[in-house]
Subunit: 767 residues, 2 copies
């Protein structure tokens, strides 16, 4: 745990330059706009430890799989998020000595990410061994207003009698991935050009053939006036740069304004890229830096107006929640249904792939409540488009008849992961994908996705479950063998309660959706029946048989669901009995010891109770929570938020608040000692849920928004917006009570602690 970030309600601030924390800061201060993003690498050269990272949404590379021991069924490749063209680069030399904070002495340093406006700025004063002293200010943003462009303003002031400054903005496509399995370069040259201060680099990924085009157009001014000195152009494979030499005197300030466009063949015809790129940077230059920035800031203002959460009385909690919301909005804007939410977003390479079950289980509720419904729908459509691949994937594993198994990790619908106990066995992901359809319908009231697309996904998944269960002749019950639940500290177990439970839930929901379709839209039903070769009676009868006699492990004595068959045979210890020196256990214990232990990495039975919370009475929730919480080590970023929500439901506010802190400042305080690899983007949605679904107790009940507000003792108040079926409401919870304001122009019915309130436009309910 590190606490070097200055606490501030709206800003992330670092006031000292500590090279040991530089890579952590590169992650924390990352900026992006849903289309592309960039770690907080320095513009000028930096020869110290750094993870260079510039990412373009949807552009990936199928890196040849690396395993120790091959298992039949493993995918041939792992799709890597690609470090692509470096568009921030500005090389600076003073009297031929490169400016480099690794070799210069740093006197003042500030790095600030203003989350309100989406601006990354930096200022420092540094000197070198030739007694050259400079002050540098830089600011940059990836425009939210026009997702094709970015801009950088970089100025340098001389604090020495005189010096020759060489300054060279450049674009560099010759970049590598740190996590390349076989040290392969993933890019090949396509084209580059430089003319005065305008140029481009166009590179292409090997194998996948994605083309990325970065263009720049730069202004260079001295003390506010454009410089007139001649430029020198540099062009080599995948690189262009444009430099100028300037004789500076003390106090002179040179400012480079770099207008950048980052495009890809995912959004434009390759043949158009050069033209579009130049048009974009020329237009940007004409508008000017300030106008671009204003449009960008306005866009952020709009986002915050509905997605902000305000916490009074707890600045650390306030900064934490805003950081989470900010990063989520930078990562995914929801207007491209081919995209999804990578575990590291645009902040690092680790984990590859863009899509995990995190999207459905953690991110969807956030976007449902804070964005237009088309955003959530696009996340569902993404999976619909991958249904064919999911069926192929299941076929590879021996399933038939249109059974679908969605991949654990994917870019294009194909499985990328290669650990048998996860790839083949952590199949509960299929349940989360089915549940997301239900969650969408329940929240939005919109059945169109379900009827047009979702039904096909549900049938594919239900067919998979029906084949994955098998009848134990001995027991005369269905069982599900060889699975890994959400708690990955158990592998290849039989009858994991969560997986079997969510599977049964899927069968039930699919049947009810089918029956409703059959009744209400017989034509559409007939069409689907035909398309899916769905044998209504045979298949649903089989499903009913499974529903009527499947073994779900429970313990009557304790009154709890069992994580898996035989869980009680384990040595029963409490997480707080583990010596501090052995925590986290994944870094200290061998894998078999972890597997044999009763310790739980992340919510498993409790994940099921959280998802299906309306099916379980408080008493049941309480018994399970009190049994499993003390055995949970929360060594996954996805774990604490689920426990917060259940703890809040059970009025265990101290526990809820303790776990909230753990989730909300996970990256800011580098809790897991891995922020340098990038941020835990998907779990950030869990932090949001901790407040809204946890403390706020938000649920959808019979088509109505419902709240059971609780206030952590440390807070004076908190408030958040929720968008629900076209209505935006503002919820404010304080020691004085709960205020809910209707910000829309239609009235809305809301439940607070079970009591119904009808709120007129611009009015407020008090509870």
């Amino acid at each position: 745990m590190k606490e070097y970030i200055i606490r501030d309600p709206w800003k992330i601030i670092e006031n000292d330059f500590n090279p040991a924390y530089h890579e952590i800061s590169e992650s924390l201060f990352s900026i992006g706009n849903g289309r592309f993003g960039q770690r907080a690498n320095f513009e000028e050269k930096y020869s110290g430890e750094t993870l260079q990272g510039s990412y373009v949404a949807g552009v990936y590379y199928p890196d040849k799989t690396r395993v120790g021991w091959w298992k039949n069924g493993y995918p041939e490749y792992f799709a890597k998020v690609l470090n692509s063209v470096n568009w921030i680069g500005i090389d600076v030399e003073l009297d031929t000595i490169p400016l480099d904070l690794n070799t210069w002495k740093v006197h003042e340093f500030n790095r600030t990410l203003d989350m309100k406006t989406g601006l990354l700025s930096r200022s420092f004063k540094a000197s070198n061994s030739a007694n050259t002293v400079v002050k540098v200010k830089s600011e940059r943003f990836c425009s939210m207003a026009d997702q094709n462009i970015a801009a950088i303003k970089y100025s340098i002031t001389l604090e020495k009698e005189s010096a020759v400054l060489n300054i060279r903005p450049y674009l560099d496509g010759k970049v590598v991935n740190k996590d390349s399995n076989y040290d392969e370069i993933f890019w090949e040259e396509q084209d580059q050009n430089i003319e005065e201060r305008r140029g481009y680099v166009q590179t292409k990924t090997k194998k996948t053939g994605f083309v990325v085009h970065a263009a720049m157009n730069c202004d260079i001014a001295i003390n506010g006036s454009a410089v007139e000195e001649p430029t020198f152009q540099y062009e080599s494979s995948m690189y262009v740069g444009s430099s100028v030499d300037l004789n500076l005197e003390e106090g002179d300030t040179v400012t480079v304004t770099k207008y950048v466009s980052v495009l890809s063949s995912r959004n434009y015809e390759t043949s158009q890229l050069i033209e579009v790129g130049y048009t974009k940077v020329d237009e940007a230059k004409t508008k000017g830096y300030d106008a671009l920035r204003e449009a960008h800031e306005n866009h952020w203002g709009h986002i915050w107006s509905t997605s902000d959460i305000i916490i009074e009385g707890d600045i650390a909690a306030q900064q934490g929640i805003r950081f989470n919301i900010f990063q989520l909005n930078q990562t995914y804007t929801g207007d491209d249904e081919r995209l999804n939410i990578g575990p590291k977003g645009f902040t690092g390479e680790k984990y590859g792939g863009s899509t995990y079950w995190d999207t459905e289980a953690y991110c969807l509720p956030f976007y449902l409540a804070t964005a237009d419904p088309h955003v959530s729908k696009n996340l569902l459509v993404y999976r619909y488009k991958h249904l064919g691949k999911a069926i192929e994937n299941a076929e590879k594993l021996g399933f038939r008849n249109g059974a679908a198994l969605y991949p654990m990790v994917t870019m294009n619908g194909e499985e990328c992961h290669n650990e048998w106990e996860i790839t083949f066995e952590e199949i509960h992901r299929n349940g989360a994908i089915a549940f997301a359809i239900y969650d969408y319908v329940r929240y939005t009231g919109d059945r169109s996705y379900l009827e047009e697309y979702g039904i096909e996904v549900l049938v594919g998944i239900s067919r998979f479950w029906a084949q994955r269960f098998h009848l134990s002749e001995r027991r005369q019950q269905y069982v599900m063998h060889g699975v890994t639940g959400p708690n990955e500290y158990e592998n290849n177990v039989n009858n994991n309660w969560y997986t079997s439970r969510i599977a049964l839930w899927t069968l039930e929901y699919t049947m009810s959706a089918i029956n409703e379709l059959k009744e209400k839209s017989p034509d559409l039903f007939a069409q689907k029946e035909d398309k899916l070769k769905f044998h209504y009676y045979t298949e649903t009868n089989h499903w009913k048989d499974i529903l009527s006699r499947t073994y779900l492990p429970e313990d009557e004595e304790l009154g709890i669901f069992l994580q898996q068959e035989g869980y009680l045979d384990k040595e029963q210890l409490m997480a707080d009995e583990i010596p501090n020196s052995e925590v986290p256990i994944w870094q200290h214990w061998s894998w078999d010891r972890i597997l044999r232990s009763c310790f739980i990495k992340q919510a498993d039975v409790l994940q099921g109770i959280y998802l299906l919370d309306d099916l379980y009475e408080d008493e049941v929730v309480k018994r399970n929570f009190e049994y499993y919480e003390p055995r949970t080590v929360h060594e996954s970023s996805l774990s604490p938020c689920v426990h917060v929500i259940l703890a809040a439901r059970l009025n265990k506010m101290e526990k809820a608040y303790e776990l909230y802190l753990r989730t909300s400042r996970l990256d800011l305080d580098d809790y897991n000692n891995d922020t340098e690899d990038g941020l835990h983007i998907t779990s950030m949605a869990g932090t949001w849920m901790s407040i809204v679904k946890g403390f706020g107790g938000m649920r959808t009940v019979d088509g109505k928004m419902s709240f059971n507000p609780k206030l952590p003792e440390a807070w004076d108040s908190y408030s958040f917006h929720v968008i629900f079926r076209g209505v935006t409401i503002l919820v404010h919870i304080s020691k004085q009570g709960t205020q809910i304001k209707n910000l829309s122009d239609t009235s809305v019915d809301i439940l607070i602690d079970g009591q119904r309130y009808s709120i007129e436009p611009d009015s407020m309910a008090l509870a």
Copy 2:
């Protein structure tokens, strides 16, 4: 399955050159002498597909581990068997065209391995596009009489009017391993020298620093007379060669005799290697090829005199069993207790490491019955010397108090393997190592190893078992969670019957060994108690508690032991129901499907019944055999032999014979389609056991040799030697009955079908 090898009782013969089978033949025709060995690569250049392989016993390289997803506890490296200096090389050019069977036309071809004499020979006639025709004969051996030397006789006859022959014997240390994880070269240059036709190459392994020294001294003769033409010497890094140009006329025959010495720093001081190497090759040259060969052949004669098995009436079976015995004797001679029996011996790189549990479970019985007891004892001493490392290994996994876990794969006692479900969980290997001590004592009657060393190994292993079981509070029974049994088609199961059973057996045997020592040699006991910090009462009471209440899964209804808890919940199918197109399942099914299936890779419950066979009545054996055999797919080379032994015991001779064929010609007929990687050396001992322990029904009963002979219908007779407590007996089993001859000078008591026979020296018992 391939059947291109000509059937012959003593020889392995290939009469056509088929490049597609070349790598298979390179494995099959491998030769070695326990100290070093060599695949049947060609002496002259071969540009086609080949696996170059020259191996020196005990010389390995710790290749950096390659895994997809690192698990805590994995070893940093995997010890690779090293392809070392190529000492067979003789480059041949005719009119500057290299002789190369990949580019020349091959007219006649014969490759023969004479198992009786340990000679590899080859002859061929080939022509090239310049109409040059040559006949070549080569013969080579790795001397069993002097394990430091090898010799090659290579002659070439011109069948063309005239041609210039350039012939260059060489030594080449610049070799690579095909299985290098990161394409690393494992060797570095140390020294090389060439003077006329004598030279050496001395190379050193990186990291481990093993030095290998190969020297050569060559004769070159034309039509029987030494050539007088000048030699040209070649020397470069890790390479020396010596060539001569000869103007040949039709019918001229040039013969190169290459005397080679292969030494390593494991057996000599590095500073002595040059001197010893030159002495060896000079002496060899002085003795001459024929004398060296004769000594070598005599040595083989001696080996066969006690280890041969003669089968009459079934040439395929005869060739198969001799091939197995031949390879075992080439691999391990038992006179160096630092060595062990690698899964591929000197025939390939695959699987790395030198030592698996195969040694104790499969190889030990072979060496016990066919070699002097010091050979078996050396195998036990090997493990004793690794006890410290086994304790360290267990500590890494969280065990304490001197608990020992022997590695799954090792070279120097350290674990090399990196699959969690095997490395950490396939712990039954510890049981085989304990059982081997018992087996040795039972067979030889010699308790000295047990008392001096074995007791320490047993205590270490028993301590491991005692910690690896844990008490289930709920059941009030001890259980063993998270194990992989011998059947690797189940991973991470709870209460694998075999593992728990062999663990309990170990505790019992250790206690009885301790108690006997305590009673008979109290001083030695006190010494061990002190050395091991053994708390007699506390520890043995704990062991007794475990013995009194450990859960061993059984099914009363079926009257069988259960492979693991819950096995009966699996879908119960028979192996013969698997479509042929899906066999072997490991090549066709995804890993999870294999794990969920009831199919058994290799004997598991039956392995336990085989080992502890005197504890189980025929009825129990029968019920378990009849239950598990039809579910066993025998996709491990170690499986069929155990089934043969039990089938023979149960008089299921048809099944026994069917499985015998499967094991005995596994490599000769390339049954598993992987002989090109090398031979399955350790399972070859299983083939021997199939005959002696299976058909012959050999057991040790109350310190006496006992037989229950059975004869497969296809055979007229079979006979084998067994060495037992200083007495060599010859067992001959035919349709007429069983003859047992005592070849020694003391009388021996033997049981045949339970009846006791006292056989005087040079006499015979008939039954």
